[in-house]
Amino acid sequence: LKVVEGVRSGNRPRRDDLVAALYDRHRSELIRLGIGLVGDVGDAEELVQDAFAALLRRWTALRDVDAAPGYLRTAVVNGARARWRRRALRERMSRLIGVPTETTDPDVAERSTLLTAIAALPVRKRACVLLRYYADLSEAETATVLGVSVGTVKSQTAKALAQLSKSLESQQSGAQQ
């Protein structure tokens, strides 16, 4: 990440150059994190665009360029939360006026039994699993992104792993039958 290294060496680049470098380095990872969270590639791309917009808005308040990836992950997780809520409302409205909506996302469902099982987890557990085992964050880093305690991350992750294990076993036995 040349421009970031340039900052450290005193050769200060423009803000857009820094964001461009962050974008090139982290976009794909963030989109895949978003896919794990919301199950849809298009929605995940939207989340990531919004996350970079949030980063630009808060650029002057960002003290350390190294904090930017963490800020982007937080923005993606928070954006995903808002989308879940919005989707639930639409489903309820659709039910009332007779316009059914998809409840299982084909992007995820067609690709991996693991992702399907993760998609069935409650919101916070899903985020814990993805941040811990896909974004490769520590428990403390995950707690920071989610705004919860390390203890909560520990317990939510443990419960999520148990639930995943049960779900995958169930899928496996169903497939054998």
Binding site: R32, A61, Y71, L96, I97, Y134, D136
Partner: protein, 678 residues
């Protein structure tokens, strides 16, 4: 990166997760292509910040400074003459967009900062004709606040977070002072520049700092962290004192030299629910409360006078002090008060004022999309109305300016309030997602479904004041949705597991109907005639509209047959009912076309009032008995207004064409509201 050691199960999960997700192809979108879209999103967000920060708070603070001091810092010598001739609007300048221009007076000119156009215009002080212009920032991202002092115009440019010094004659920038953070307002007083900057430390903080800047060198000579919510800090300055007002603390008096707090005006926050308007002069501090203006002695800080109750409506109302008059905005007018006993001496009909500046013998007032000059002269011709486009990109019909009340719409996942013409948009309460807004009968409170947790289903019924204050989660309503008020405003009906009624304080929960495997009920609506209409769906059949008494008795069907009816809404007099009707069935997996129908209270005389084709939904009523509803268009959702008999169908709002999310819900309140916020 993680430092914990994986168990075998965790290691396997990590490996499989990377294989699964990294195997998903992600389309490449190079930065140059993504950049424009990301910047557009930034600007959309900034429009909201600007609406909240600048339209109310900044105007108040700057106005306070402008009228106390002339360009060279001297106090004005004589006031506008009070005579028998009424004060009138004698000149008017229209500007693109709906944002109130920021105004500053100096060097014989009026300067208007135009956020919507990214420029500052210099206007002739008599005719308000433009005499020059300077680009500052870019469209929707430029001049946030203006002040005049030390022979220069000072402009806060939000785009580059710098304070620009501009030569008033040539309109050329001569200095750009880097501020850091997001600046919100600038004022000139005591020979110094005073600037508020958000945010103090992290992206989660909303606290602001007050910076003192030497206008000659551009160096920051002092700084202090301000208390309270950063979006509603007001300041006023004179040689011996800096006043700072925030929404949750008494007004503080700071020493401009040491930047230490000298005292707090403790009585000043007894009535506060927003940052108060401030002015200094005549040996006094003037502070607005929600219902009056308070005068404190500058020397002791004691309360020495209070105005009669005036319909101010907003504690953040602009104050403008002249030697023999204190001007302020009330709900529908400009008022002038005597500076000593604060009695009302003059009254000028003018709505939606957001900033006042005085240059005798006239005063200048900015309001959405225009600046007017007010004097005791003959009036100028009324400008021709034109469509307005608000912050959310909604285009409102010109005739909407004549409509009464206040409109609640969704803005993203939040509720926003705006005037019927789309101006004055502001988020109601943007702490967590809110849906299903409904106005109380008096138009001063709303009930909505709000989220208290991060998981789906973590919601309950809340009530809130129209100013965003007093948010209350009603106990016993968890999982509830689609709330509406009773006619008395003391009870609420909502759906969850059937139709329920509860007192607004959470007592008296009563389940009127109970969902079963065979049927479920939703969308309750309470009429002025004390009947509750609701949508009932029997398994495998389309929903129908039913009605019952508030105790659950006398249930009767208002519709029968057809392809489905839902979302009932009663007219204000309870004599008519509007609802959504499905007009055709395209099968269970396709969207079905819907229209809005209106019927008598007993279900008779059903007739369609919405356009044919597409989908119309979310009907509600205006206070004067017309139906407003949303309908799909190629660009999102449009809003329509129609008489109950189906005549005079007109499009009220055209959905945004700038890529922003459109309206998905609308509710019309009966009261004309000020712009006060909590």
């Amino acid at each position: 990166m993680t430092s914990e050691i994986d168990t075998p199960v965790e290691a396997e999960l990590r490996s499989q997760l990377h294989t699964s997700l990294d195997g998903i192809a992600v389309d490449d979108l190079p930065w140059p292509h993504a950049r424009a879209d990301i910047h557009h999103r930034v600007q959309a967000r900034r429009r909201r910040i600007r609406a909240a920060v600048a339209a109310v708070a900044t105007a108040s603070a700057v106005a306070s400074i402008l009228v106390v001091l002339q360009s060279d810092g001297r106090r004005t010598s004589s006031p506008p003459t009070v005579g028998t001739r009424p004060w009138r609007v004698v000149a008017s300048a229209q500007f693109p967009g709906t944002d109130p221009p920021r105004i500053a007076l100096g060097d014989g000119y009026v300067f208007a900062g135009l956020w919507d156009s990214g420029r500052v215009d210099r206007l002739d002080p008599v005719t308000l004709e433009p005499t020059g212009s300077v680009d500052v920032g870019s469209s929707q991202d430029g001049p946030l606040s203006l002040s005049y002092g030390a022979g220069s115009l000072w402009v806060l440019n939000f785009a580059d977070a710098r304070l620009w010094r501009i030569d008033p004659a040539t309109l050329q920038p001569t200095m750009k002072i880097k501020l850091g953070g997001e600046p919100s307002q600038v004022a000139f007083g005591d020979g110094q520049l005073w600037v508020t900057v958000c945010c103090a430390t992290t992206h989660t903080s909303n606290r602001q700092r007050l910076l003192r800047i030497n206008p000659n060198s551009g160096t920051i000579t002092g700084s202090i962290a301000l208390p309270g919510d950063g979006e509603t800090i007001n300041i006023a300055v004179e040689p011996h004192a800096v006043l700072v007002g925030s929404q949750d603390a008494p007004v503080s008096v700071l020493d401009p030299q040491t930047l230490t707090v000298q005292r707090q005006l403790h009585d000043s926050c007894d009535f506060c629910d927003g940052a108060p308007g401030l002015a200094i002069g005549e040996g006094s501090f003037y502070v607005t409360s929600k219902t009056s203006v308070l005068r404190f002695a500058e020397s002791t800080g004691r309360l020495i006078a209070e105005s009669p109750t005036v319909s101010i409506g907003s504690t953040a109302t602009p104050l403008a002090l002249a030697p023999d008059g204190l001007w302020l905005t009330s709900r529908d007018a400009l008022l002038r008060l005597a500076v000593t006993d604060l009695r009302v001496t003059d009254h000028v009909q003018l709505r939606a004022s957001s900033q006042i500046a005085i240059a005798e013998p006239a005063l200048y007032v900015s309001s959405p999309g225009r600046v007017v000059r007010i004097a005791q002269e003959a009036p100028a011709p009324t400008p021709t109305p034109s469509p307005t486009i608000n912050d959310a990109g909604l285009s409102a019909a010109p005739w909407a300016r004549d409509l009464p009340g206040e409109v609640a719409v969704n803005c993203g996942s939040d509720i926003c309030l705006m005037r019927p013409d789309g101006t004055g948009e502001r988020p109601l309460f943007a702490t967590f997602p809110e849906w299903d807004p409904e106005w109380s009968p008096d138009g001063h409170r709303l009930v909505f479904r709000g989220y208290y947790g991060i998981a789906e289903g973590d919601y309950a019924i809340y009530t809130v004041g129209s100013d965003g204050c007093h948010v209350t989660r009603i106990p016993g309503t968890d999982g509830g949705y689609q709330p509406t008020w009773s006619t008395t405003g003391t009870r609420i009906t909502f759906a969850v597991g059937g139709v329920n009624v509860i007192n607004t304080d959470g007592t008296g929960l009563h389940k009127l109907t109970r969902d079963t495997r065979a049927r479920f009920d939703a969308a309750p609506a309470w009429s002025a005639a004390d009947r509750i209409a609701f949508a009932r769906t029997f398994h495998g059949r389309p929903p129908e509209i039913y009605a019952m008494n508030p105790d659950g008795s006398h249930v009767s069907a208002l519709t029968q047959g057809g392809r489905g009816f839902t979302d009932p809404a009663w007219s204000p007099d309870g004599r008519h009912l509007a609802f959504v009707a499905t007009t055709a069935s395209r099968g269970p997996t396709a969207g079905n076309p819907t229209v809005i129908e209106v019927a008598n209270a007993n279900g008779s005389d059903r007739h369609t009032v919405s356009p044919a084709g597409g989908n119309s939904f979310d009907p509600s009523w205006t206070p004067d008995g017309r139906v407003v509803f949303l309908a799909t268009s190629n660009e999102g959702y449009d809003a329509y207004l129609v008489n109950a008999d189906g005549t005079n169908l007109r499009r009220l709002y055209k959905g945004p064409t700038n890529g922003q999310a459109g309206i998905e819900t609308i509710a019309w309140g009966p009261a004309h509201l000020d712009r006060s916020r909590c």
